[in-house]
């Protein structure tokens, strides 16, 4: 197995399939989780799949350049910031409501 993998390095398609799988799992989680923290984690998955896409395209399409890698670093930084903000909101929500169930936070309706 290890030998097989060593002699057959994964191609672009494999990486993209992995990225698509990550994205789909993230999307499913985003739409189905009830827990706010879970939703946040799903969003992180989707962001990471996008970052992976950047890196993959950088490696296989323009190997001599760094643009994609730089973008991936950006995505990680932005994701970290987003998590901070999101967690702060959820902490506030929890203090206010004693729950992080998003079904019970339907104030946007009003």
């Amino acid at each position: 197995m290890i030998r097989f993998l060593a002699s057959h390095p994964p191609g672009m398609t494999h990486w993209l399939l992995l990225s698509a799988a990550l994205f789909s799992i993230g999307l499913y989680g985003l739409l189905s989780r009830r827990n706010a923290v879970g939703i946040l984690m799903s969003v992180e998955l989707m962001l990471n799949s996008a970052a992976l896409n950047f890196v993959v395209f950088n490696r296989f399409v323009q190997p001599g350049r760094m643009d994609g890698q730089v973008m991936a670093i950006f995505v990680i930084a932005v994701a970290a910031a987003a998590v901070v903000v999101g967690m702060a909101i959820f902490v506030a929500l929890f203090r206010h409501r004693a729950t992080v169930d998003v079904n019970r936070a339907a104030d946007l309706k009003h």
Partner: protein, 664 residues
């Protein structure tokens, strides 16, 4: 170099001063100080009267009396433009009759304003009263000065509105509210006819404009400040245009088009001038304050109809039998109102019916005009001129009496001659003037009307006017004897006191005018066509007319001046006839019957049903549909971010699917 003088170039000031004063008084002075509102409004009208007299002086210096008096439009602006070459202008038309009306309206209005300062003192709506009075004066002057028929219509309606406001001035009194509504609805109804007439005239006038407009414009070049338009009186009164319109042939039931148009226009005039059968609003309009009755229902608004007929008289003459309608309606109203006037007990109502009767005189004078006998035009305008003064005086005098006695009933007065000597003297002058006794104003103008009727070959109308001269003298002296002679019939009349100076000064001024205005050689100033009318008194007519008037006075003295009870016995002897006249020939009742049983039941109710169910139903349906859709769509808005995300993702998938399908 402009040959026109300052006043003519700025003739717009005549209506503009009351307008600005209306704004100033209504918006700024009224809430600030009552007294300032009254004084400012009065001063404005006096200023306007001054400018009007100046305009008259300059006009008659430009075209001296005795010669031709072509109309001028010394000032005008384009108001509404439909397209190049077709627009409606606002302007000021100056010709003998508009000058005459401007002077009369501003003079009487100024004196009425002055009188109102005293009469309305202590009234709650003091400032409001002067605001409306200014608005009314502005509207009337705009009407008089209108150089085209559309401007006239606009101001015509403004006059209607301001009279509505003034009649319903005591708006907490149900009868005043009813009277103001009645006046408005009746005149509006008549104005519908006027408007259709305007449409006919304007449409066919416009059709002929391309062919004749150039020639007419060349004829009036230099006299008009605005480009000639098919709505202008300068154009519509041109013989070539009228010839063209008269040749249009039958329109409806064999009536020629021009005749039809002029009869419709006369319908509007009859509404404003309260001619039979549209006269019913005027007696009720006496619910307004007495100065309003003096201004609107004697001197100005009700003569708007006469003025309209006079303004379009060339068209009426060309319209053939339309003028006969004017004459007959005028003569009938003249007699009809005089007969009713004899039986009324409310002094203002008697005066209202006498106004109807006198306006009927003016209408019949205009109605007997023909191309060969244009004297009626001069006579009608002359009577308008003199009547404005003595009728305003009668109303203001009546106002002073009502003020003193606190009752409109002549039977509550009596013996006022000694208590109110100045009012008595002024009232007597006006009564003699309206009765047509030499040398008071009414004598001259009435004589001219009788001469016009006889000269035009209308013997029947002449007979009616002669009879009405006697009736007029009778009913006027009836109220004079009852209210001034004898002994006081009520507590209040016992303690009546003379009116304050601010009230009797206008009375004295009007009395002076009633005394001298008959001596104006009107024929040299106002005449149809270029030749002046011969002045002077026709003794073959004046002597019988004076005898009839004296007989009327004698009869009035016999019934009301001498021992009491004679009138009572005469009324009892007449029985049913007296009752029918006293109830004003049941015209109001007929109207009420027709509106209640025919109009309301057969027209208004189905329309109301249609409105409530079809029109409102349609509106409600659209509202309900919108609300239903909204309710359905509102379900989508759950407030759950995840639900929104589902829609978002579904949308993206859908778009991708479409793009993929498009690529296939």
């Amino acid at each position: 170099m402009n040959p026109l003088g300052f006043a003519l170039r700025n003739a717009w000031l005549v209506p503009a001063i009351p307008f600005f004063s209306f704004i100033l008084v209504g918006l700024f002075l009224r809430p600030w100080s009552k007294k300032a509102a009254g004084v400012a409004a009065t001063l404005a009208i006096f200023a306007s009267a001054f400018v009007a007299c100046w305009v008259a002086w300059e006009y008659f210096r430009l075209y001296p009396p005795g010669g031709a008096h072509p109309p001028l439009v010394p000032w005008g602006i384009e108001w509404l433009r439909y397209r190049t070459g077709l627009s409606v202008s606002m302007g000021v038309l100056v010709d003998p009759i508009s000058v005459l009306l401007m002077v009369v309206v501003t003079t009487v209005s100024a004196l009425v304003h002055l009188y109102s300062i005293g009469y309305m003192r202590g009234d709650e709506g003091y400032g409001r009263f002067f605001t409306f009075l200014n608005l009314f004066t502005f509207s009337m002057l705009g009407l008089v000065a209108a150089p085209n028929i559309l401007q006239m219509y606009v101001f015509w309606e403004l006059v209607g509105v301001s009279s509505f406001l003034l009649i319903g001035f005591y708006y907490s009194k149900p009868s005043a509210v009813a009277a103001s509504k009645k006046a408005f609805i009746v005149t509006r109804f008549a104005d519908a006819g006027f408007f259709i007439g305007i449409l006919i005239l304007a449409y066919y006038g416009y059709m002929a404009f391309g062919q004749l407009g150039g020639a007419v414009a060349a004829k009036v070049a230099g006299r008009s400040a605005t480009a000639l338009q098919p709505f202008d009186f300068l154009y519509l009164a041109d013989p070539a245009v009228l010839g063209k319109l008269a040749a249009l042939g039958p329109a409806l039931l064999g009536i020629p088009l021009l005749t039809l148009a002029m009869v419709l226009v006369f319908m509007g005039a009859a509404g404003k001038s309260a001619m039979f059968p549209l006269h019913i609003w005027l007696p009720d309009a006496m619910e307004g304050p007495t100065p309003v009755s003096a201004l609107i229902h004697a001197a100005t608004m009700v003569v708007a109809g006469v003025y309209l007929v006079a303004r379009l008289l060339p068209a009426f003459v060309a319209g053939g039998s339309a003028l006969l309608v004017v004459a007959c309606v005028g003569a009938f109203t003249c007699l009809f109102a005089a007969v009713i006037g004899i039986t009324q007990d409310d002094i203002k109502r008697v005066l209202a019916f006498s106004t109807l009767s006198q306006i009927g005189y003016m209408m019949l004078a205009l109605g007997v005009v023909s191309a060969a006998h244009p004297l009626g035009y001069t006579a009608g305008m002359f009577h308008l001129f003199t009547h404005a003064f003595f009728k305003a005086l009668l109303f203001l005098g009546a106002g002073a009496m009502i003020h003193a006695v606190h009752s409109n009933e002549i039977w509550d007065m009596g013996g006022l001659a000694r208590k109110m000597p100045i009012t008595h003297a002024c009232f007597l002058v006006a009564t003699l003037a309206i009765a047509g006794i030499w040398p008071f104003a009414g004598f001259f103008s009435k004589d001219e009307i009788l001469a016009a009727a006889l000269g035009g070959g209308h013997a029947g109308i002449f007979a009616v006017s002669l009879a009405v001269a006697g009736l007029t003298a009778f009913y006027m002296f009836r109220i004079y004897f009852v209210s001034f002679w004898g002994r006081p019939r009520s507590e209040r009349a016992e303690h009546a006191r003379e009116a304050p100076a601010v009230m009797w000064l206008p009375l004295a001024a009007l009395a002076l005018l009633s005394l001298v205005s008959g001596f104006v050689p009107m024929g040299e100033y106002v005449s149809l066509g270029d030749a002046p009318e011969r002045g002077g008194v026709d003794f073959a007519i004046a002597i019988p007319a004076s005898l009839v008037a004296l007989a009327g006075i004698g009869l009035a003295w016999f019934f009301y001046g001498g021992p009491a009870g004679r009138a009572q016995r005469a009324a009892e002897a007449l029985g049913a006839v007296y009752r029918v006249v006293k109830r004003k020939f049941y015209v109001d009742e007929v109207y009420l019957f027709v509106t209640k049983n025919v109009v309301f039941r057969c027209v208004a109710r189905p329309i109301a049903w249609f409105d409530r169910h079809a029109v409102d139903g349609g509106v409600n349906l659209s509202a309900r549909t919108t609300r239903g859709l909204g309710a359905a769509l509102r379900r989508l808005q759950t407030g759950q971010v995840q639900a929104y995300c589902v829609w978002y993702v579904a949308g993206i998938l859908f778009v991708l699917l479409v793009l993929w399908a498009a690529r296939m």
